[in-house]
């Protein structure tokens, strides 16, 4: 809580506000002008079919791909043109789809990379050590393999490492792109336990997840993205009960 951006805000202002966001790949418009908000302390889920624009939305928020139009506000500040590498220092961190771990570094080194954005705080070794221990409690497998090169981890273990590395940055807003991908059933349970516990500890979450049932059970609020447009929104519970959502995303065949 040492960041200048954690000064008290007007509580009704959204923590993250996305306004008329558009993303294009050549001639293809992946995101067609969407607006949504994430309030402080909330967990918000973005669900939708393959190719609906979920990952494009997250990547454009964090500056990994350019925005064709629109604005993004984080804690009242316009971050639309802020470079991606500057965002973790402000408390906004993403776990990308496909993990993006440093394969030629050890697991421990990957975790420490997560603290690079903590500036003055990074020097406090005791705190960093405690955070590493916390990750090892979340993911015992990472502890077992801490000295191995990250590239030798299995796909699912890399997913755990990507999550743990992001948590090492002590995010105040965490963007998760498919945190359950490649994980065994028991680890899917675990990763959602971790999501709930960091949410309870005060982290705000924006979650893209193909396991729509689990995502909506966990989320306070959800948005449904279809072909680059938001077509439905509501509380996680209300979306879970929506027949359209059940047919399109929860795999329930009409009987």
């Amino acid at each position: 809580m040492t960041s200048p951006f954690s000064a008290p805000m007007v509580s009704s202002a959204p923590f993250l506000r996305v306004d008329s966001l558009q993303v294009r790949y050549g001639g293809i418009q992946a995101v067609k002008g969407i607006s949504f908000a994430v309030h402080q302390g909330q967990t918000v889920a973005l669900i939708g079919a393959n190719g609906a624009g979920k990952t494009s939305t997250l990547k454009s928020i964090t500056g990994l791909i350019p925005k064709a139009a629109g604005q993004v506000w984080f804690e009242g500040q316009d971050i639309s043109s802020m470079p991606g590498h500057a965002l973790p220092g402000h408390g906004l961190v993403m776990v990308p789809e496909g993990r993006g771990i440093f394969t030629r570094m050890t697991i421990m080194e990957n975790l420490l990379m997560g603290t690079e954005c903590r500036r003055g705080e990074a020097a406090r070794r005791a705190e960093v050590q405690a955070d590493i221990e916390a990750q090892f409690v979340h993911f015992p497998r990472l502890k077992e393999r801490q000295k191995q090169l990250a590239g030798t981890l299995s796909g699912g273990e890399q997913q755990m490492l990507a999550m743990a590395r992001a948590l090492m940055a002590r995010p105040r807003l965490l963007l998760l792109d498919e945190p359950s991908m490649g994980l065994s059933p028991i680890m899917v349970d675990r990763i959602f336990e971790v999501v709930r516990s960091i949410s309870q500890a005060g982290t705000t979450l924006l979650l893209v997840e193909q396991n729509a049932r689990l995502a909506l059970q966990t989320a306070d609020y959800g948005y449904v993205l279809e072909s680059g447009l938001i077509t439905q929104e509501g509380t996680g519970k209300s979306l879970l009960e929506s027949p359209a959502v059940r047919a399109a995303y929860l795999g329930e065949e009409s009987s």
């Binding site: 790949y25 393959n50 981890l153 699912g156 755990m160 065994s184 059933p185 349970d189 929860l250």
Partner: protein, 269 residues
């Protein structure tokens, strides 16, 4: 679509492997693994993260050299020494971390898979340089076949799109089409449903059943319990490189060791 006449009759073993071991330094990734997959089966390989599932795939497809093991494909001993020989022998696979030719079109990706089965003077470099009539005819046939495979997996509308622009789920279907283009006797799929929602997984389930009905044998790594249990004829569970359970899905699902190591609360999914 596959030529049923060339496929082995149902019930005969397609892949038999036993005594399979693989070490990485001090880590034993596979420890005396044995598996026998019959023709026409959909066979599930499941287990905790890091159990050795993908390592097993890499061994049988020639990406890793095993430290031990005997391998029989379609009744004949084969040495999983190099990837292209394994593809020729009849195992094709997809990858958990998708490995398409990103800057080629979807159609071109499938055409590459087809080249495993096209031989002779006119199909190779000489034909390509001289642009012989036979070469052009061969390329046209490959293109037609590749297009049919894109239709078969349901993504023909993206034939001319660059592979990297396809969504994750469609890239997985494209990998399946490219693998099918090699006319495999065994199709090995590493987490084909990753990145798909439940409705899309139902679509994938239907596709895999269609491939099975067309006479192919499938080996499947997958974490979605509902998909595995609903689709697979037999299941093997790995943990720390060892087989901890093997058999019918229902029996495996209620095995206490499997519940503890792998399924957790989803044991009753």
């Amino acid at each position: 679509m596959p030529d049923a006449a060339s496929l082995p009759p149902e019930g005969t073993p397609i892949l038999k492997a036993f005594g399979v071991s693989k070490r990485f330094g001090g880590l034993t990734a596979l420890d005396d693994v044995a598996i026998s997959i019959d023709a026409g089966q959909i066979y599930g390989l499941i287990g905790p993260n890091g159990a050795g599932k993908t390592t097993f795939f890499n061994v049988i497809t020639g990406l890793y050299t095993p430290d031990g093991g005997v391998f029989l494909l379609n009744g004949q001993a084969y040495s999983p020494s190099t990837v292209h020989r394994v593809a020729e022998a009849g195992i094709a696979r997809t990858f958990q971390n998708i490995r398409l030719f990103a800057e080629m079109t979807a159609l071109e990706n499938v055409m590459v898979g087809r080249h495993v089965r096209t031989h002779g003077l006119h199909a190779g470099v000489i034909g390509a340089v001289l642009r012989t009539a036979a070469f052009k005819a061969s390329e046209a046939a490959i293109k037609d076949h590749a297009m049919q495979l894109l239709q078969y997996v349901g993504i023909d509308r993206y034939a001319q799109s660059l592979a990297r622009t396809l969504s994750y789920g469609d890239q997985r279907r494209l990998e399946i089409a490219r693998a099918l283009a090699t006319e495999p006797v065994l199709l090995a799929l590493d987490e084909p449903a990753a990145g798909m929602n439940a409705t899309e997984k139902n679509g994938l389930r239907d596709l895999l059943r269609k491939i099975q009905a067309d006479g192919k044998t499938i080996l499947l790594i997958e974490h979605d319990v509902k998909l595995v249990m609903g689709l697979c004829d037999r299941v093997t569970v790995l943990d720390y490189g060892k087989v901890i359970a093997q058999g019918l899905p229902a029996a495996v699902q209620s095995d206490p060791a499997v519940v503890e190591a792998y399924l957790g609360t989803q044991a009753h999914a």
